[in-house]
């Protein structure tokens, strides 16, 4: 069966510091991968998606970037965090249309 991992689970970072969140998927090949952000009490906002290694599509202009160095690895990064980057970051994978989510990373920028 397929499993999706995210780490770290929680992160507290100062404004201006870099960021690297990692997502890995097991049990499937060539998945579509997604990064979402969820503000407190809100819905999910799609940030990036990828259909293959090195292929990244950005949905909203922002302070973040994504990379896919391996088939089942998706990384979310920032060079300098802003206060507004705080939130719950979720990675998801799909084989076609159904998306399955990881456990999430809670990021607090102070």
């Amino acid at each position: 069966s397929q499993t999706i991992h995210q780490w770290p689970a929680t992160l507290v970072q100062p404004v201006g510091s870099p960021l690297s969140l990692e997502c890995t998927v097991e049990g499937t090949s060539n998945p579509n991968l997604y990064w979402y952000r969820q503000a407190a009490g809100r819905g999910l906002q799609l940030l990036f998606y990828s259909v293959g290694i090195g292929q990244i599509s950005s949905e909203v202009p922002q302070n973040l970037s994504a990379s896919r160095p391996q088939d089942r690895q998706f990384i979310l990064s920032s060079k300098k965090l802003l206060l507004s980057d705080s939130g719950f970051y979720l990675c998801a994978w799909s084989a076609f249309d159904t998306q399955y989510f990881g456990p999430g990373t809670r990021l607090t920028v102070l």
Binding site: N32, L44, D97, P103
Partner: protein, 115 residues
Amino acid sequence: GESVGLHLPTLSVQEGDNSIINCAYSNSASDYFIWYKQESGKGPQFIIDIRSNMDKRQGQRVTVLLNKTVKHLSLQIAATQPGDSAVYFCAENTQNTGTASKLTFGTGTRLQVTL
């Protein structure tokens, strides 16, 4: 623009009763819909899905109904249990490139189960 919204932000239901969570969507071209359950501090969990060529689909204690005429989606939970307490999101497939889907999510409905 495309949007998916929910009628009730919070729904309080007594244990053992049936729950109905509603969702409206605006993109009549959407062909696939999903319901997710999200418990506090966790990622959304897939519950059930339905394609636009169907109007009803049943799972274990859950039923999804799709009314394309009025662009309305509902999730019915039978014999609601305390473990059903969570936020429920509907999601609409707003784009299918043939390689990746793009889902638009509603803002969510919180289901509170009272004893």
